[in-house]
Structures are given as structure tokens and as C-alpha cells.
């Protein structure tokens, strides 16, 4: 026992999460007091007493005898544990023998507090260890769902049953126990995971799910596993893409999964449920909020539907299982899409829309503006590089400008980045807006007249080299360049549009422009241009 508690503390750093830490300080204040406190927490109080007595007796002698005891005065949990270990080994052998007998008792009282929160981390760490155990049980379900979650859920359920085994290897021992308990827990595992899944998306249902969960297993198992997987996937995606907020939510989800899972299977862990559910509820709310904000509303309904189906019975469950499989794949597909939408949302600056449609709208606009900006940049580069070559065909500018929207880039011939679609008219406006329409006009006219003076033979030459040079210099100037791009992007985003509205009535025969540009574009094809020619709309 003593070793148990101190061990927990010792292991705490590794796998036992915060809750256990909270418990631990209570239990083991350090030195003798710790042992005393442990007593009330653990089932085998008697053992503690015995141990304590022996400890007290031995402590004074220990420091003199052993190196570990010397650490005691340092009030180090870790050392205290070691000391206890020694104590146990020497004096408490008898009490230790009692351990296995008390294991069952432990499950209900002692382990719950420590183990439930622990699973959060233990499960994650033990996933690999338990992975081998889970496959046989979840063979059918594991195919596409990540094994991690499955093992995590099963592992999480296992901890309550794990007796506090001695020392450092406890972690590994726990794993073994998890594996042992897994077959037992597997049946309830899926249901537990189901509760987890439901929990992740809904705020309210979590408390209700455990009951029905236990009743059914197979049908819900698949969904549960997937749900858990999705949760973890979402969490992972969030962590990967979203950064802090997403990451924390993902971590919370995982912990939630563990905690709820452990709570549900543990009929014996009734005592542990309330505390476990409380943080789980909080996490659920948080997660629910976040997920609801995202695109999980549909998933919530799906899950509740699944729960209903499962409660009906085996026959209907079979039917619903098939439907659930379909739902499963559908949900997976939807989750994939949602994940990508989140990634897209992060790429789009100042995107505060939670609605899919509006977000896609913004994405489209942003993409267009980006294309425009790239085109503008290329044009500017060309201009700055070939300053002296730009002819001044001023008069014809006005009428050509609208048509040149895309043409300019094409005319520049470098096929710079002609990823502009028809609607991208603003480009000529930008040039017109700038105080120097002349060069712009020249640029505009370039495509108009098959490469008249504008073609700038030298440009294609230097251009590829410059493009490559830019790429080379990119790493060096990335930090510097970042400021401009942001501004440029923003400005281009706004200016072209304004100018466009101010100067042009948009109905421009882009088609003819593009068709005209085609031959021009074909001529100079730089490395960058390769991607653009294929952008040409068939128009």
C-alpha cells in the first residue's frame, strides 16, 4: 500500500493526470504523514497502519542504513516512495501479500480516484501496449477506425480494475492488467466509446448514454469507435491545424473519452463516476460548444439516432447496424470534409464565419483575390524588370483594359500566374487606378497585339531565372517578405474591387480576351507559366 501510493506519485509524473495528482497530495503529504493519509484512501487501511508503524520505526534507522531513507528528509515524493518501497520490501512483505486479496476492494475505492483520471494519460500511453489486445475483439470494427481510440477506451475501462501493484513497473503492470481486463471490458468498451462519441458532440446526452450503452455492444461499437476516432481525429486535426484552442479541446476530448469510458463500465466504480463525470461534463460542454460551432450538428443527430436504434433490440439492431455502417461511412466522409473546411478556414484570413456556405463563399473570394494578387505581382515584377521596354500606348488603354483583365498576365507572357477565372476583372482597374496607366496600357495592349513591343524578349529569359532566384532567396527573406504580402494581399483584395466598380461595368468579353491571349500565352512559357496555361478556361 504505501508503495502504492507513493508509487502513484512517482508515476504521476509519467502517466497519472492531474486529478490523480490532486488525490495524491492528499494521500501522501510526504514523509510519514503521507502514509497516514493514504490509509483513509485505500481499502486496506490496516495495511497502511501496519506499514506506518513499521515505517516510523524503521525510518530513524533507515537513514543510517540506506541511501534512500536519507532522501526522506528531502521531502521528495519520489524519494519517499522509494523509501516506502524499501520499507515494504523489508518490513511490509506481509502487508504486501495482502495486496492481491484486497485488489478487488481496491477497485471500488482506492483505484477509482487515482485510476480514472489516470486512464486519460495511461490510455494514450498504453494504446500501443494494448493495441495488440484490442484487435481480436474489435477486428470487425477496427478496420477503418483508428486502433488507438479503441484501445484507449478499453484501456480506460480497465484501470478501475487494476490493483495497485508495486513499484515502478506498475505502469507496465497496469498495461498487463489492462490487457487482461480488456476482453472483459471489450463488450462494454464499444458502449463506453459510444458514450464517448455521443459526449463529444452533445452536451446533454452523455450522462444518459452509459446506461443504454452497456446493454448493447456490437452495433454501437462500430459507431462508437468511429466516433471516438473522429473525436481524436478532430482533436488531432484541431491540434495540428488549430493550435492552442483546438489542441486543448482535443486533449480534453481524449481525457473525456477515457473518463467516461472508465466510469461507464465500472459498475463497481460508482464512487468514481461522479468525480469523473464532473470534469467530463465540463469538457463535454466545452467540446460541445466547439463542435456545435463547427459542423457537427448533423453528427449529433446521427448519434442520438444510433442510440435509439441500439436500444430497440437485436433484430432491429441488425437492420440498424447495416444502416449504421452506412451512416458510419457517411459520417466519416463528412468528418473528412469538415476537417478540410476547418483547415481552409484557417487559411483564410479574418474568416469568422462558422457557417459552411458563407465560409465557402469567403474562400472563393479569397482565392480569387489571391490569384489576382499573384498576377499583379508578376506583372509588377515584369514591369520593374523591364522598365525601359514598356511602350506607351495610352489612348487605347481604356477600351482594352477590361479585356486585359487576364490578358496582362498573359501578355506578360510569362504565363506568370494566370490562374484567374473570368470574373477577375479588377486587374486592369488596379493598373488604371495607379497613377501610371501608361505602362499598364502597354501591358494591356501587349496581348492585344500579338506581342508587339511589349513582348520583351529579354523578359522570358530573365524571368525564369528570376523566378528561380526568388525561390532561392525566399528562405532568406521570408520573414521580411511576410509583412508585405499581408499588406499586399489585403490591399489587393480591396482595391481591385473598388476600382473595378468605379471604372468598369464588368461585362467584358473575357472570352475573346482569353482566346486572344491563348496564342500569346503559348509563346513564352516559363517555369511558372506551366501551371497557368492549363488554367485557361475553355472560353
Amino acid at each position: 500500500m504505501n508503495h502504492c501510493v507513493p508509487d502513484f506519485e512517482f508515476d504521476d509524473d509519467h502517466w497519472i493526470p492531474t486529478s490523480s495528482v490532486l488525490n495524491r497530495p492528499r494521500k501522501s503529504a510526504m514523509a510519514e504523514e503521507d502514509v497516514m493519509e493514504l490509509l483513509w484512501q485505500n481499502g486496506p487501511v490496516v495495511l497502511h497502519n501496519q506499514n506506518q508503524r513499521s515505517l516510523k520505526k524503521s525510518q530513524p534507522s533507515f537513514p543510517a542504513d540506506q541511501s534512500a531513507p536519507r532522501e526522506i528528509p528531502s521531502s521528495h515524493h519520489h524519494q519517499q516512495e522509494q523509501q516506502d518501497h524499501l520499507f515494504m520490501q523489508e518490513d511490509e512483505m506481509a502487508s504486501w501479500l495482502h495486496y492481491p486479496l484486497n485488489d478487488t476492494n481496491f477497485d471500488s475505492d482506492f483505484c477509482t480516484d487515482l485510476l480514472y483520471p489516470a486512464p486519460c494519460i495511461t490510455s494514450t500511453t498504453t494504446t500501443t501496449a494494448t493495441a495488440t489486445a484490442t484487435p481480436p475483439v474489435r477486428a470487425t470494427h477496427v478496420t477503418d477506425s483508428r486502433p488507438q481510440l479503441n484501445t484507449a477506451t478499453t484501456v480506460a475501462s480497465a484501470p478501475p480494475l487494476r490493483p495497485p501493484i508495486p513499484p515502478p513497473p506498475r505502469r507496465t503492470a497496469n498495461f498487463g492488467l489492462f490487457a487482461r481486463h480488456m476482453p472483459r471490458e471489450v463488450a462494454s468498451g464499444p458502449s463506453n466509446s459510444k458514450s464517448v462519441t455521443i459526449r463529444e458532440s452533445t452536451v446533454v446526452d452523455s450522462s444518459d448514454t452509459p446506461a443504454p450503452m452497456r446493454s448493447m455492444e456490437g452495433a454501437s461499437g462500430v459507431n462508437n469507435n468511429n466516433r471516438c476516432r473522429n473525436t481524436s481525429g478532430a482533436g488531432d486535426a484541431a491540434t495540428s491545424s488549430g493550435g492552442g484552442g483546438g489542441g486543448s479541446s482535443g486533449a480534453r476530448d481524449l481525457t473525456m473519452c477515457e473518463m467516461t469510458v472508465t466510469s461507464s463500465p465500472g459498475g463497481s466504480s460508482a464512487s468514481a463516476e461522479p468525480p469523473a463525470q464532473k470534469p467530463a461534463a465540463e469538457d463535454r460542454k466545452r467540446k460541445g460548444r466547439e463542435t456545435d460551432d463547427e459542423y457537427h450538428s448533423e453528427d449529433v443527430e446521427l448519434e442520438s439516432a444510433d442510440a435509439k436504434k441500439q436500444s430497440r433490440g437485436s433484430t432491429s439492431a441488425k437492420r440498424s447496424r447495416a444502416a449504421e455502417v452506412h451512416n458510419l461511412s457517411e459520417r466519416r466522409r463528412r468528418d473528412r470534409i469538415n476537417e478540410k473546411m476547418r483547415a481552409l478556414q484557417e487559411l483564410i484570413p479574418r474568416c469568422n464565419k462558422s457557417d459552411k456556405a458563407s465560409m465557402l463563399d469567403e474562400a472563393i473570394e479569397y482565392l480569387k483575390s489571391l490569384q489576382l494578387q499573384v498576377q499583379t505581382n508578376y506583372f509588377l515584377q515584369m514591369m520593374s524588370m523591364g522598365c525601359g521596354v514598356v511602350p506607351m500606348m495610352f489612348p487605347g488603354v481604356q477600351q482594352y483594359m477590361p479585356n486585359m483583365g487576364m490578358g496582362i498576365g498573359m501578355g506578360m507572357g510569362m504565363g506568370m500566374d494566370m490562374g484567374m477565372s473570368r470574373p477577375m476583372m479588377p486587374f486592369p482597374n488596379v493598373l488604371a487606378g495607379s497613377a501610371m496607366p501608361t505602362p499598364a496600357a502597354a501591358a494591356h495592349l501587349g496581348p492585344r497585339f500579338p506581342m508587339p513591343p511589349f513582348h520583351m524578349p529579354p523578359v522570358p529569359g530573365p524571368d525564369p531565372s528570376r523566378v528561380q532566384a526568388a525561390n532561392h532567396s525566399d528562405p532568406m527573406f521570408n520573414s521580411f517578405g511576410m509583412q508585405n504580402p499581408n499588406q499586399a494581399r489585403a490591399s489587393n483584395f480591396v482595391d481591385p474591387y473598388q476600382q473595378y466598380l468605379a471604372l468598369h461595368r464588368m461585362q467584358l468579353p473575357l472570352q475573346q480576351n482569353q482566346s486572344m491571349v491563348q496564342p500569346n500565352a503559348s509563346k513564352p512559357s516559363t517555369s511558372k507559366g506551366a501551371e497557368n496555361p492549363e488554367n485557361r478556361p475553355s472560353g
Partner: protein
């Protein structure tokens, strides 16, 4: 399923589905890679993925170009028209 879902969702998802399909189609038009090949085969997921990749590549390109423009701007004659244009655009 979808009907139940949309019912439960108060019909919001039903309404948005068409919009989303349309938007995805629009996006597809913008993406250079998808536009020319397999017009009907791409899934929404792929479109979104391609969009993200495309946006990232465009970002990179804009960064590169802006960087180069900054350098060019510093080197070319400040009074030239080109410089004025460049300055107006990126500053």
C-alpha cells in the same frame, strides 16, 4: 437518414446542401488542377483539399513575388512610373 437529419436540423442542412454543392462547384472552377480533368468525379473533400493546397501555394507565390518586388522597388528608380505603381499596389 438524411431526411431525418435534416428534420432534426430544422431543415438548415437541407437548405445548405445545395448551396454547398454550388460553392464547391465554384471552387472547382477556380482550382487549376481540377478544372481540366475529371470534371464530375472530384468529391467535395478533394475540392477542399485542393483549395487548401492551392491557397497555400498562392500564399507562397505571393510571398515570393512581394519579396522580389520589394527588392526591385528598392533598386529601381524611385521616380519611375513603375515604381509608383508598385508602391501603390503593395504599400
Amino acid at each position: 437518414m438524411s431526411s431525418r437529419r435534416s428534420r432534426q436540423a430544422a431543415g438548415v442542412s437541407r437548405i445548405s446542401d445545395d448551396q454547398i454543392i454550388e460553392l464547391v462547384a465554384k471552387l472547382r472552377q477556380l482550382l487549376p488542377e481540377i478544372r481540366d480533368r475529371r470534371p464530375q468525379k472530384v468529391s467535395a473533400s478533394k475540392v477542399l483539399q485542393e483549395t487548401c493546397n492551392y491557397i497555400r501555394s498562392l500564399h507562397r507565390e505571393v510571398d515570393d513575388l512581394s519579396e522580389r518586388l520589394s527588392q526591385l522597388l528598392s533598386t529601381i528608380d524611385a521616380d519611375s512610373p513603375e515604381a509608383a505603381i508598385i508602391r501603390s499596389l503593395i504599400m
